[in-house]
């Protein structure tokens, strides 16, 4: 089925939450749940989306949803899927929404195990490129040059020294059934991938870039546009991995827009022209490898 704004069900499953105005992560969660519908059973580890969604008695999910330990998104999904199956229930989707820290750092072991067992779960990483809920600390998905509270910008060191870990390829290297990258700046593509993933039996992983106005130093109305620009200037690659084959979904429209895209974000404000050249070279070597 082709999902779009017209075919989407009018139900709202993530409503009244306390995310900052313009939060990209909350849009990623909201849209995925609209695609999956009321039979989605959601797992949210420690992180912004659980913090803004569950403030008892303000409970902002309309579907079944639960907080897991920070490291345990995938293992709780495994348990939920097995438990419901044991009760003879079949018409549900066990879906996790974990941040970049919860996925690429502390939760990677549970995720790796679930993929290895090919558990029938959908794992969505909403990537805001730092530990936002605890006040913007660096994760292994924070990109080179970004200023965080643990990678400050000073005279000697200008923000994060390490490149962004490639979670999509790490997940694909497990031989997972389906993996994809997405962006909240390209919602139709994201919705299509969520829908497709929900129809596959086995482990599915979607990595959606979801700007955080608070941590990125952008205005609340800019998060969707920044997420779109990241794709257009080739920094974030929309791709899929299925049946052992990688495919790149879009070619960058405007490679030269990288500089202005970077300069718009407060977290990169301190970078020199040479630093941005380095970001450009990281991007270019990626595309030279066929987007992988």
């Amino acid at each position: 089925m082709n999902v779009n704004a017209n075919t989407l069900n009018e139900d709202e499953f993530f409503y009244g939450h306390k995310a900052c105005a313009g939060c990209g992560g909350s849009l990623a969660v909201r849209i995925a749940l609209k695609v999956l519908g009321k039979r989605a059973v959601a797992v949210l580890p420690a992180g912004c989306m659980s913090a803004v969604g569950f403030n008892f008695p303000q409970l902002c999910f309309a579907n079944n949803a639960i907080i897991s330990t920070f490291a345990g998104t995938a293992s709780m999904l495994t348990g939920i899927e097995a438990g419901l199956r044991a009760k003879g229930i079949t018409d549900f989707v066990a879906v996790g929404f974990a941040g970049d820290g919860g996925t690429a750092d502390i939760g990677i072991q549970a995720l790796s195990g679930a993929i290895d067992r090919d558990d029938n779960i959908l794992y969505i990483c909403y990537d805001n490129e730092a530990y936002m809920n605890t006040g913007v600390q660096k994760s292994s998905l924070t990109p080179f040059g970004a200023k965080t509270t643990t990678t400050p910008a000073g005279g000697n060191v200008r923000g994060n020294l390490r490149p962004k870990k490639n979670m999509f390829e790490i997940v694909a290297a497990h031989g997972i059934k389906y993996a994809a990258t997405a962006s909240i700046g390209y919602l139709p593509d994201y919705m299509k991938k969520v829908q497709h993933a929900s129809e596959i039996k086995g482990t599915k992983y979607i990595h959606v870039i979801a700007p955080c106005p608070t941590g990125w130093g952008i205005a609340p109305d800019e998060s969707v546009e920044i997420a779109k620009e990241a794709v257009d200037c080739g920094l974030w690659i929309l791709a899929e991995y299925e049946n052992g084959i990688f495919s790149v979904n879009t070619k960058p429209k405007n490679l030269s827009a990288l500089r202005t895209h970077i300069k718009k974000q407060g977290r990169f404000k301190h970078l020199t022209d040479e630093d941005i050249d380095h970001i450009e070279s990281l991007r270019d070597s990626k595309w030279e490898n066929g987007g992988q």
């Binding site: 989407l8 139900d11 999910f61």
Partner: protein, 98 residues
């Protein structure tokens, strides 16, 4: 199906609290309207009902209505994403009067 506002109890007694870690889904007791300093206002005459604002609102407060769209101001945070996404300039942000 959507989380909705319940009447706020003046005082919670021990019996009101769940005796395990589960509770009713979609249970809201507070609005988000107070977060806003600007509010989106839709010119329904300019609106074509393309639903792009509805799709992109992080708070899901825009709904389809009579070929156009309507905003639930109880939960709109005034982020301005809807205004920016609207190609027809049918949404303006106006200062919130005190």
């Amino acid at each position: 199906m959507k989380p909705y506002l319940r009447s706020i109890k003046a005082k919670w007694t021990l019996q009101d609290y769940p005796d395990n870690t589960t509770y009713e889904a979609g249970y809201l007791i507070s609005k988000n309207a107070g977060w806003r300093s600007i509010r989106p206002v839709i010119d329904t005459k300019k609106c074509s009902g393309c639903l792009q604002c509805y799709l992109h609102c992080p708070d899901g407060v825009i709904s389809k209505r009579d070929g156009a769209v309507a905003i639930d101001y109880d939960f709109c945070k005034g982020c301005g994403i809807c205004k920016r996404i609207c190609k027809l300039k049918a949404i303006e942000m106006e200062a919130e009067s005190k």
